[in-house]
């Protein structure tokens, strides 16, 4: 063994490497454990609640429910889509934005990329109605 001038003792070097390794694994636990996405079940609940309330809404004219009045035809949708948008806006809490797709067209806001979105789909007599909800 030659003179170990200027060198750390080998066991210290090994311990240093070991500490680095253990710390790396620990960092993985401290930061990397995927926390369940807390806002998704809540957003899904908001979306499905809105869909249920909309589907069972009391009518304003002669239809069976409010939604069948709005989704009667292309003309009725053009006439009433502003009212549908106001209705959804009022059902949802103020901190949420939404988008509703009906067989005749879409109302609401543009969905931004990269946000957590809750979604619900209901079947109506005129086709599928899909609601997306996200935090503003």
């Amino acid at each position: 063994m030659r003179d170990s001038r200027g060198q750390l003792s080998l066991s210290t070097v090994e311990a240093g490497i070991g500490v680095l390794f253990i710390l790396a694994v620990t960092m993985g636990f401290a930061m990397g454990v995927p926390s369940p996405n807390a806002s998704e079940p809540q957003l899904n609940a908001y979306a499905s609640d809105t869909a249920t309330v909309l589907v069972n809404g009391r009518p304003r004219h002669q239809g069976a429910t409010r939604l069948t009045e709005v989704l009667q035809s292309n003309r009725s949708f053009t006439r009433e889509h502003a009212a549908l948008r106001r209705r959804v806006d009022r059902i949802l809490p103020d901190n949420l934005l939404f988008r509703v797709r009906t067989p005749y067209g879409t109302v609401g806001y543009r969905k931004p990329a990269g946000v957590t979105v809750g979604v619900a789909t209901v079947a109506t007599t005129r086709g599928k109605l899909t609601i997306w909800v996200w935090y503003a």
Binding site: S9, I91, P93
Partner: protein, 224 residues
């Protein structure tokens, strides 16, 4: 001399390594424990809220429509027996800004909010003006039942009452008194009367029960 220095550094190295390994295990254990708790909490909160607002819940008239009088009868023991998913966790249920149920001492915990309608039945009485030939009157709002009080003038008998052209009451020798009629809440009701003589305002009194709904949020908090 050199051998002793090596021994010392080996001891220090082992000590440092063991300490770091211990801290690492502790952190990992904590991470696992915390993840596990909130998942169970969230599952309980989501399913409790789901069951409270579902159509089959004892507190709803239909899905997402809570009956006001039934909700005010909610109590902690009722929640535990009807919704066993909460087990012995602390639960708080708020409706709007009113606390309905508080069980245990929930601090923090997981909260799920649901959009619900709160329903109550109004009682509305009308004495419709009746005009021949059909003596038709339309109820302005939908209802699931109507209470009719028929009190025809002397010499006139009311034989048939129709709701949207369906016969709901019939007596060939004349209807007189108070009758309960069930109608569909999904359509506007127009009542018409067959009478042997003239009918006027006050000969028929109608009581109906339209629903009044207000929007609110149901917040369910579950703390393990």
């Amino acid at each position: 001399m050199r051998g002793q220095a090596n021994l010392l550094s080996l001891a220090v190295a082992l000590l440092v390594l063991t300490t770091v390994a211990g801290i690492g295990l502790h952190v990992a254990d904590g991470a696992f424990a915390s993840t596990d708790w909130t998942a169970a909490e969230r599952r309980a909160a989501v399913s409790l809220s789901e069951r409270l607002v579902s159509a089959g819940s004892p507190f709803t008239a239909r899905a997402n429509v809570l009956n006001r009088s039934r909700v005010s009868s909610l109590d902690p023991s009722g929640v535990r027996s009807q919704f066993p998913v909460v087990r012995d966790r602390s639960v708080r249920i708020r409706l709007g800004d009113r606390q309905v149920v508080s069980y245990g001492t929930p601090t923090g915990g997981t909260t799920i909010r649901r959009v619900v309608l709160l329903e109550r039945r109004q009682r509305v009485q009308v004495t419709p003006p009746l005009a021949p030939p059909n003596y038709t009157t339309t109820l302005p709002r939908r209802t699931s039942r109507i209470r009719l009080t028929v009190d025809p003038p002397a010499g006139t008998s009311v034989t048939t009452v129709r709701a949207n052209d369906r016969v709901v009451l019939r007596n060939t020798s004349g209807l007189d008194g108070t009758f309960d009629v069930r109608v569909s809440p999904m359509e506007t009701v127009a009542l018409s009367f067959d009478a042997s003589g003239p009918l006027g305002r006050g000969d028929v009194t109608l009581t109906y029960y339209p629903e009044l709904t207000t929007k609110t949020t149901l917040a369910v908090t579950v703390d393990a």
